[in-house]
Amino acid sequence: MRVGIPRALSYYRYFLPWRTFFEALGAEVVVSPPTTRATLEAGLGYTVPEACLPLKIFCGQVRALVGQCDALFVPSIQRFAPESTNCAKLIGLPDMLQATMDDLPPLIAPDVDLSEGTRALWALAVQVGATFTFNPLLIREAALAAWDTYRQMRTDFRTGRITPADFASSRPIGLPAAQPSNSLTVAVVGHPYNLYDPFVNHNLLTRLARLGAEVLTPERLGPRPGVDYWTFEYELVGAARLAVEQAGVNGLIAVVAFGCGPDGVMLERVRESAAGAQIPTMILTLDEHSGEAGLVTRLEAFVDMLLWRKRRAGSVSGN
């Protein structure tokens, strides 16, 4: 059985453990190709204009898998911790697909609610595994293997050896290295589907590296404190807090998709943390027609500003 996983949204968080799980159960995993303009155009036909860019990309990625797989894996991620909730668009993904596309393969669309901890995780494994086998021991083994993959993935994130952009690649390249380095470190925070899809962010991470900055992302920074009501907002708020507390971070860039409600609310917290630590912050809003020229100008000016500050700080402490 071929299980299709669209290269969008939660792919950038959990693809590796899910792949281990499905393959351990004897399935073949099919990933849609990297996002291009054609992906976006395919997605536009299935979304309302007001939907956020990541959702449009998601629909386009699903279109690339129609006819290429026997089942489509689209989890509905509800929450990870008590008292938190996920964005309604992300919770409703399977329903949205079924309401808009009539040529879909069968969906594997479990509700993922991890607020009850490990027990819920086992229940999830059994529920999804039942599509492939009735042997509970096999499911248990697959789940344990997936858990190992998940832990290894987190370790590799921390060392910078891989990023979610490498998930489907046999030769991981990790975070781009500053070339040549101007000894600046810029933390870039945001959801992984915004940070690791170079189509969506116009090669943001590589551009920063070419401007000489070392890039830190939430995955590299490690586990974030706090859940802050929105399940995934720790990628913004938690990572920003962690980044500004870390010595040697010269600037912070928050990347958000235009029209993202949770990000819009939480940006204020990001600004607060950065302002408290007196670290310059820039907010980059991504949209389907965001011009590249504007983005490049902003990045260059931001890096100039950080260098300027750094030189000034150096000369003051030198006196």
């Binding site: 303009r37 600004r271 260059e300």
Partner: protein
């Protein structure tokens, strides 16, 4: 022999050139429309500035800035390509060394730069919405059959400005028509328009930022006395408009390249660059579904620059 550094600012609507001497003094400047053909206009501007400068002038360095900075750099042979934020900040500091706030409003975009002790600490840029820019004012002036210069003068005469919605050009326009049909004097509508632009600028760019004096206002729109007055009223402080406010980006680029060159030879192609025939063409790359539009610039048969791709396959500059 006079040694100068040239700064060229190719904006979406206008092109500016500034020449500074070794001491950083502005010796000549030029301001003209880009007319949608940046290469020819840069070349013509080069000829014009050459005519203004002394004949024995020696160009020791060239810096470019503005949205057409890459293109201009190829055409003239530049030593430095700099973003507009840095260029504008450097120019403002040159005139007002203790400046805290730099506002720049050009034809298609607007910027806000916050400085602290002579360095940029924060900035914001608006390049998507044109409601707060010069093009908007120009369109509305045109609709009322008033020249852009006259708009500023007449707005200054207003005593009871009417409130115009400034969030979007479309709303502003229908609001203006409504006020005009209600019989409000044109002067009051015009000043209301200036206030709408200022409100839009402050709402879009100044969110959460402290705009402390000294405030410097530059860019083409700073020529409009009505907008200057509206800013001064909204910020409750004096708004300084530098004498060469419209060429500040070019001046910044010139000052930056002056700092950069330490006697190294310049890459400037010479004023003869105005006579080189640049040919441009474009094609759609079919290597992947992105179908990027690649622009190519040639001199004779030689490709001198190519860009526009999402990947590096074709890029060269």
């Amino acid at each position: 022999m006079l040694e100068v550094f040239l700064g060229i600012d190719v904006g979406s609507v206008t092109t500016k050139i500034a020449a500074v001497d070794r001491e950083g003094q502005l010796t000549a400047s030029l301001y003209r429309r880009t007319e949608g053909r940046p290469i020819e206009v840069v070349q013509e501007s080069l000829r014009q500035i050459q005519a203004i400068l002394p004949t024995d002038v020696d160009v020791a360095g060239v810096g470019t800035t503005g949205s057409g900075r890459q293109l201009a750099a190829v055409v003239v042979g530049a030593d430095l390509v700099k973003n507009e934020i840095t260029a504008h900040a450097v120019a403002a500091l040159h005139f007002v060394p203790d400046v805290h706030t730099v506002m720049d409003i050009g034809g298609q975009d607007s910027k806000l730069i916050i400085l602290e002790d002579g360095i940029v600490v924060d900035f914001a840029m608006n390049s998507v919405c044109a409601a707060g820019t010069g093009s908007f004012l120009e369109q509305q002036a045109h609709r009322l059959n008033i020249s852009i210069e006259e708009l500023g003068r007449r707005a200054m005469r207003s005593r009871h400005p009417v409130r115009i919605a400034g969030r979007c050009t479309v709303f502003a326009e229908s609001d203006m028509i409504h006020k005009q049909q209600m019989g409000h004097p044109v002067d009051d509508i015009l000043y209301g328009l200036c206030q709408a632009l200022v409100r839009n600028y402050l709402n879009n760019l100044a969110l959460g930022k402290m705009l402390r004096p000294p405030v410097v206002f530059q860019g083409g729109v700073a020529a409009n006395a009505g907008v200057v007055r509206a800013f001064a009223e909204a910020l409750e402080t004096e708004v300084i408009v530098p004498p060469q406010h419209e060429v500040m980006g070019a001046l910044g680029a010139a000052l930056l390249v002056r700092e950069r060159m330490n006697g190294q030879p310049t890459r400037f192609r010479g004023f003869g660059a105005a006579e080189i025939e640049y040919r441009t063409s474009s094609f759609e790359c079919r290597a992947c579904p992105n179908r990027c539009e690649i622009a190519e610039i040639r001199v004779g048969r030689e490709v001198v620059a190519r860009w526009g791709g999402r990947c590096d396959r074709w890029e060269m500059a």
